[in-house]
Symmetry: C2
Amino acid sequence: MLCRWAAGRAMRHCRFSLPGVTSMVHAGAMSGSGNLMDFLDEPFPDVGTYEDFHTIDWLREKSRDTDRHRKITSKSKESIWEFIKSLLDAWSGWVVMLLIGLLAGTLAGVIDLAVDWMTDLKEGVCLSAFWYSHEQCCWTSNETTFEDRDKCPLWQKWSELLVNQSEGASAYILNYLMYILWALLFAFLAVSLVRVFAPYACGSGIPEIKTILSGFIIRGYLGKWTLLIKTVTLVLVVSSGLSLGKEGPLVHVACCCGNFFSSLFSKYSKNEGKRREVLSAAAAAGVSVAFGAPIGGVLFSLEEVSYYFPLKTLWRSFFAALVAAFTLRSINPFGNSRLVLFYVEYHTPWYMAELFPFILLGVFGGLWGTLFIRGNIAWCRRRKTTKLGKYPVLEVIVVTAVTAIIAYPNPYTRRSTSELISELFNDCGALESSQLCDYINDPNMTRPVDDIPDRPAGVGVYTAMWQLALALVFKIVITIFTFGMKIPSGLFIPSMAVGAMAGRMVGIGVEQLAYHHHDWIVFRNWCRPGADCVTPGLYAMVGAAACLGGVTRMTVSLVVIMFELTGGLEYIVPLMAAAVTSKWVADAFGKEGIYEAHIHLNGYPFLDVKDEFTHRTLATDVMRPRRGEPPLSVLTQDSMTVEDVETLIKETDYNGFPVVVSRDSERLIGFAQRRELILAIKNARQRQEGIVSNSIMYFTEEPPELPANSPHPLKLRRVLNLSPFTVTDHTPMETVVDIFRKLGLRQCLVTRSGRLLGIITKKDVLRHMAQMANQDPESIMFN
Amino acid sequence: MLCRWAAGRAMRHCRFSLPGVTSMVHAGAMSGSGNLMDFLDEPFPDVGTYEDFHTIDWLREKSRDTDRHRKITSKSKESIWEFIKSLLDAWSGWVVMLLIGLLAGTLAGVIDLAVDWMTDLKEGVCLSAFWYSHEQCCWTSNETTFEDRDKCPLWQKWSELLVNQSEGASAYILNYLMYILWALLFAFLAVSLVRVFAPYACGSGIPEIKTILSGFIIRGYLGKWTLLIKTVTLVLVVSSGLSLGKEGPLVHVACCCGNFFSSLFSKYSKNEGKRREVLSAAAAAGVSVAFGAPIGGVLFSLEEVSYYFPLKTLWRSFFAALVAAFTLRSINPFGNSRLVLFYVEYHTPWYMAELFPFILLGVFGGLWGTLFIRGNIAWCRRRKTTKLGKYPVLEVIVVTAVTAIIAYPNPYTRRSTSELISELFNDCGALESSQLCDYINDPNMTRPVDDIPDRPAGVGVYTAMWQLALALVFKIVITIFTFGMKIPSGLFIPSMAVGAMAGRMVGIGVEQLAYHHHDWIVFRNWCRPGADCVTPGLYAMVGAAACLGGVTRMTVSLVVIMFELTGGLEYIVPLMAAAVTSKWVADAFGKEGIYEAHIHLNGYPFLDVKDEFTHRTLATDVMRPRRGEPPLSVLTQDSMTVEDVETLIKETDYNGFPVVVSRDSERLIGFAQRRELILAIKNARQRQEGIVSNSIMYFTEEPPELPANSPHPLKLRRVLNLSPFTVTDHTPMETVVDIFRKLGLRQCLVTRSGRLLGIITKKDVLRHMAQMANQDPESIMFN
């Protein structure tokens, strides 16, 4: 979510954004009318820009791009050089995608390597080269057997290095302290960097990216500083052992890359609509590198993040996602030349009867989603409204300290969360040394490695169960407080960890039940003695999918990401059953996913495509002015003086004014933007002679007939949008909402039998929707 | 494409569709104004239906569904029974998906089994049970070695059965004749069945489904008869050995299933918009079973077939596609419990240098696509315009005879096309008995089976190359003539076969080049002697993707389908390189894919989402009436008599009339549909007393003030759409096109300063677009 500092900045900005304070000049490129205007001058600087924290007009952006395209196409016939330039322009989309893929993949690889090293740094250091992680350090060591590799002499725990003790209580305490110290150091560094250099680098970024992609301007949110600081601090916070993931922030990082590269090409940098196409693709690349799942990434971008997703974008997103995935693979941070984060391979199919525990896991995921969203939103609201929000550094330090203190004693919380998930997903092979695989083996077993029958659980498994249960409770609680602090934080990994722990416990339970009760009617058909019937790792995976689904309400993309992790269509049915159940359970308690909830909390003007508007209201109920309010401020086409208009602009704060034939007939002829009016008048007063306060302003083609001694009139037709969008007062609001959504309008005028009645802005629509849903309409803050 | 008979029927229908001839009654449910009307009577029968070969109004359908939903929600609070009914209503979407998946999967399985059997029937018969295919027959035989299984005694060729000869010239000729006879019989049966029972069952169906999904009515196109006949004839034509596939028709079959099941639930049967959501999902299920690729199917539906694809549909499509895939797998028609049609597994990676031949294959695919589309469209146009179209049965017989005569002698064309593709895709293992794998083995080889180094080609490979080259030329030519005949015919499989043959030949070429010239600079780095560097099967797959891409212009869905076939992300890069190249090459010669070309040929009103409109025209250039034409036919709100209106209706054939305040002011108050006007007047004349030809008709709330002795006036407000869509005359056409596309309008009124100027219909937009693209605007036939 947007950090408080940033939000504060935004509010200030909004409150004080007086005309003329910010650069606010653009001319003649309103929705579609650009080609009709009589340009007096060359275009002013900052053509087609928007104010910060304002909504863009999609139709107008599209129209401007078509104009640009038309110009290039017609020029391309003139000379070979222009033709080459037009080809370059056509190719620039692909070039941008390639660059995004390369940079996002590289950054993801670097982050993975750095996190690896710094996570291990909390426990010890490599003597041969301090920049080696534990695994790299011992890889080069001479101990070649599998068990000894973990204890190679080159890798020294802090206690060994500092007091030369590797066992015993004092060594343990020393290591414990070092662990906490490093965690605190990393967290402090991260929060300070974010605070000082890039306040927008905090949070997961997905709510804001959703809002930006829906057509909103948040300047600097995808800037170069944000990119740099978010990358660095992401490494720090993940290494600090806090209960957060790097997946959401990676999407933000990839979008920053997208924004950076799109600023290199005028096609994208000068058009907010086209820029958003690039950002959609960048989001896909981000998920692609986060999980190593390019198809899932594209679907995630389509389903969850993007707003307008033309088919051309689909193809390019796919390209960017693939390039990113292959770049990451060639960096090979996991050292196994696998693309995916959690590579698993199961050897047994699943059985119908197992659907019951899978659906139970789905219910658990839905409940967890509800609990997390409610808890987290309540806590974030408290942070926004109470003193708590004033001490972000202290908050991070305290949460880090609590996390480190509680996490260290438990082996399942001490290690990094993604390692934990990986271990929980894995099937127990014969050589597995993990405590979770401490089964009692039949010494006479001669089966091949990948077909081990169900075995009774050993002591290790029972210990692991206890530790997992404690870790689960701890994760659930701490994640609610962690997500939303002023550091980069994603929640994919913590959610998956919660689900994986619950799932693994259920899985082991079912496995032991099946082993000890082969004769029960539910097991009799598919689980004979000596068969390998239950795969606890699969339960962990199903649980992870359920919990992730409960929190984010992803559907297809979730299943496809999980499918890409396992690579087998076999397990899609369990995953789907759990995902559907979890979504239904969570939806029963509240329709909003965590991202929508945070968008809502921050008051962004986000018109969700998924919400359905089902009320019976009409345009006339929503439009301004309401009954009893003063009439709509309009301009007349040829009877107001410059002074009249200046007074009107000064006295109101509307973004634009409808232009009518006369106040009596109220017949609409167009719409003039406030920014453009101000600029045009200022310009005319400076440059055009004879323009005084008494000059008549006219929007028609021909000047009106004036008395002989009246001052020179001012023609303003070029700032007039001749094709404003209108609906009649009887139009049902569901149609109006649909039009706003599909066409991406900023405002829409309301008429009755050709007479202008009022205006509806996007903010009005959102406030009306909030009111209909019994929410506070004032929560929508931006226009 | 639509068969000629059907098209003829359509044309007749259009020409004679006088008011009142067809059932044309629906009332009060126009876009959004339904809730405002003063219903005099209960709704008339056929509420909300459309005429055949007409365009639907998406906004209105959506509005009607919201009304329905609102009604159910408010009722559900009244009693438990209503609550259960509302739950059932909410669930019906999932139930429909489940049913579609089950039926589509079952039908696909049955088709596969029947095709297997009937294809083999052309060559011989099983003695133990005549309904066994060759493989099933010999499966139960006692010969257990792999080579002998093909020659099991229970399976008898026709020559063996009839004259007891298995070798020799006369046996060959007899088998040849039987092959041709069976093929002719199958083809004759198929074309006769199609002709007599279901003319719509011909073609691939995808162009029509695209048109239907974009909001067009073709009654009976997805009917039960079409479903039945298409399923049966599909088996016949595929078995007859014609150069066609079953993939496109399977999409049609699945959509028929979708239509059938949606007719069981009033939520879908009574709303053309909702019905199309179901059909989109059914299309996904169709591709899912055609290739065993559920994710690819969903993306195909999204990218290629669907028009409006809300996110809810994505999730449901995925569900339907999965259910269908699993149903197919449990029927297990391929006998290997594999889901996919062409299962392949390669053991070697690809190398950078191989990208060059892959891109060459892409160029070939693009050229093939262009050649095929041009040739096929030219031939189909000739069929439409010359005598040729009058002898569809003869045409099928002749093409079948030619195909059978030429195909039999060549082993690569004699077998079924999907077997051919499967063989071409496969890597040569050590045990492979295929001629294509007749390499000269090194007798000292001790390597494992899946790591065979490159070997010199043997005689068999060279023979196979020649035969493949001949088969390639034959396939290219015959497919152009086959696609579009009056039988079900898909072109996925023939296109893939063309590409696979070309690819395999290139692959073998590169392999032999690499083997014999290890020292060339291009091979030196990655292909040392004794290494397995080139996989000819991969080239076949890349070629298949390129050719399919060239013909259909699929992008993401193509790559994902291919990816699901191999299951390895490794090969996505070659596939993508070929798909991108092929699309670019083909696009350079013409933007239309085969489906769009057929839509165009048939004159359907299809507003492609992918086309970009980049011309500088304005709404005023497109609207009717044009300059010099008589003024727009309008109704006034309270001054026309019933007779005036009846005359107007009789003299014009417009679909509706704008209603204005008065002819002088021309201020728009609404829009009245022709059908509804006719019905309302008829109804009033029958039921309401005092309504005569002289009665004044009024659309206002209150009756106008009339002289004392005037007849009783007729109130028609309830047929008035109070929220017609308007744009100003200065609106650029690119915006108008965008609005038509995104909102799914039928017509749009044009105003200037509140005065009505004219009207733009979807047909006008399409004709204008055709004109701008230098095409014949009259080719758009339907409204």
